[in-house]
């Protein structure tokens, strides 16, 4: 089944059910299906067809989703060329994917050497395109949605999914079919876009902040959001907001995903925002893998047991299965998962093996079935033969009352291999010297403690809130140089 068919089904059965809710409008499934159909015909009328790949630079949340669904409806592969990215970066991504045409809102969205189609011009042709056929049924196994990873480990990796794959992800996800889901991150981000599509596939309601500056508790209350989905960085903002505006409505559940959710943040959210806190683990290549429910938050920072349909194995260095509680590299298998990367055979060979995806994360599957992620295997430091995991250092430093968040990384040494060092961001109004934190960590970690700790105004992060350790390493190298 295609997205267009699924949408038509929702529109037929529940035409008046809300599909998209913005601060100023509600769009029902009936209206959405009609809008998507009209735009799909207008796109085809403008010369867009299934033979080309279209880069999309559309900022408005509703417009972006309607454009995406319309392109899916005519079988045209798409990739987001995010408006926040500079033109050179958008151009590189377009070249890697093989984009032939950019569909944008403004002339600055165009990319040299590629055809440009203005969304307004397409809309202007909607009337002329009325009455044209809706198109023929297609192969739902054709890859139509190109998604980029976060790029925290280098140039972003790209995966491409068919509608059939997205449908499997959506079917395996939390059941949102009767839920109102608010995800404040913009639709141009990979995970936000996918979650919105999953919600629409299931027939739920996407609550879109769409540029609203209202605090999250206010937005949740106003739009009766039953799920709020945030990254850990948004989680910290949420905490600040509930301190000012009060807790979330009792109906609102929270899911944190996309990066490590420290136990300090979890406990603070449980105490002050909502007792209905969930933490998930997933990857761009697999979608959601595991989910920790409200009773599963302890010092291990578990990401919960694998969700139905997800297979998780932890391997020793010799690739034999690790025992429960034993640390090793993780491999994953989920319905509709990616089978490789676009334009990167080396990375495909490294990460996709024997039908499994190997993200390069270190983990344990504990005896109670809970998955605990210890960070990336290639982040592991080896100092004089001692294995040191950054996340172990980070968890200890974040126990210090002055530390908001920490990032551990190696200082390359010709003698010792890699010397662990760290950078921290302090809680508002707190003061603490690096030397005091070094002593604190040494008492708890011994030889695996960081030998130097920089106190920074803010840790460098990408838009999803992941700490950019490469920048920390580069900063230290510049200082050393």
């Amino acid at each position: 089944m295609t997205f267009a068919e699924r949408l038509a089904g929702h529109a037929q059965r529940r035409a008046d059910a809300p599909a998209l809710v913005t601060p100023c409008a509600t769009i029902t499934y009936g209206a959405l299906a009609q809008e998507v159909g009209s735009l799909a015909r207008a796109l085809r009328h403008s010369g867009v067809d299934a033979a080309e790949i279209v880069g999309v630079t559309v900022r408005g949340e509703v417009d972006h989703l309607v454009v995406t669904l319309a392109l899916l409806a005519i079988g045209t592969p798409t990739v987001v060329l995010a408006s926040r990215e500079p033109a050179a970066s958008r151009g590189r991504l377009a070249a890697r994917v093989g984009v032939a045409r950019v569909l944008g809102e403004r002339s600055v969205d165009s990319i040299a050497g590629l055809r440009f189609l203005a969304l307004d011009a397409v809309r202007a042709g909607m009337r002329a395109a009325e009455g044209e056929p809706d198109g023929t049924s297609r192969d739902p196994s054709r890859r139509l949605l190109y998604l980029t990873g976060s790029g925290t480990t280098g140039e972003p990796k790209i995966v491409a999914y068919a509608e059939r794959d997205l449908a499997k992800h959506a079917d395996a996800h939390i059941d949102y079919s009767r839920e109102r889901v608010l995800r404040p991150a913009h639709v141009e981000y990979n995970n936000s876009k996918r979650l919105r599509l999953y919600t629409l596939w299931q027939g739920g309601t996407c609550v879109l902040a769409d540029g609203s500056t209202d605090a999250l508790p206010v937005l949740c209350a106003r739009h009766d959001a039953t799920w709020l989905e945030v990254s850990p960085v948004h989680g910290a903002s949420l905490l600040a907001a509930v301190r000012e505006h009060g807790p979330l409505p009792s109906r609102t559940r929270v899911r944190i995903g996309g990066a490590r959710a420290p136990i300090g943040l979890r406990r603070a959210l449980l105490a002050e925002a909502t007792p209905r806190l969930h933490v998930s683990y997933g990857t761009t290549e697999t979608s959601c893998v595991s989910l920790a429910g409200p009773s599963m938050h302890d010092a291990r920072e578990s990401v919960g047991p694998p969700v139905a349909g997800a297979e998780v194995e932890v391997l020793r260095a010799d690739r034999s299965p690790a025992a429960p509680g034993e640390s090793g590299t993780i491999r994953l298998r989920t319905p509709g998962m990616a089978t490789g990367y676009v334009d990167d055979d080396d990375a495909t060979a490294r990460h996709f093996r024997d039908g499994w995806f190997e993200p390069g994360d270190l983990a344990t599957l504990d005896v109670d079935g809970q998955l605990v992620i210890h960070g990336r295997a290639d982040d592991m430091m080896i100092m004089n033969g001692i294995n040191i995991y950054p996340v172990e250092i980070e968890r200890i430093l974040e126990r210090h009352p002055a530390v908001e968040s920490a990032a551990a990384f190696p200082l390359a040494s010709g003698v010792h291999g890699q010397i662990p060092v760290a950078a921290v961001e302090l809680r508002a109004g707190m003061r603490c010297a690096g030397g005091e934190l070094v002593a604190f960590a040494r008492d708890l970690l011994g030889v695996r403690a960081p030998r130097r700790i920089e106190v920074l105004a803010a840790l460098p992060r990408n838009a999803q809130g992941k700490v950019l350790k490469r920048e920390l390493v580069a900063g230290l190298a510049r200082e050393e140089g």
């Binding site: 004089n384 200082l411 040494s413 010709g414 003698v415 010792h416 010397i419 060092v421 040494r442 030889v447 403690a449 030998r451 130097r452 050393e480």
Partner: protein, 89 residues
Amino acid sequence: MDARAVRQVLIDGLEAGGFAQARRTTFREPFLDGTLDPAFDDLELDSLARMEVCIAIEVALGISLAPEELQRYRSLGALADDLLVRLAA
């Protein structure tokens, strides 16, 4: 970086390596102001303490030294003096 700061780096390394005397003011202060210069042999440092001294030097001063190279120095003060010279070079 002055002589006292370089000596402080060595004290930090000794402390990290579990060398208890480094915490005592009767050792620490005279060494920092240059009036105490204990011989390496008298300190009886174990391998962990030697490693931590070298790590402290590398992290704070950017000078790489292998633990076995410490044997080249007669005393802790001689090591501090050589580090000062290398920093100035």
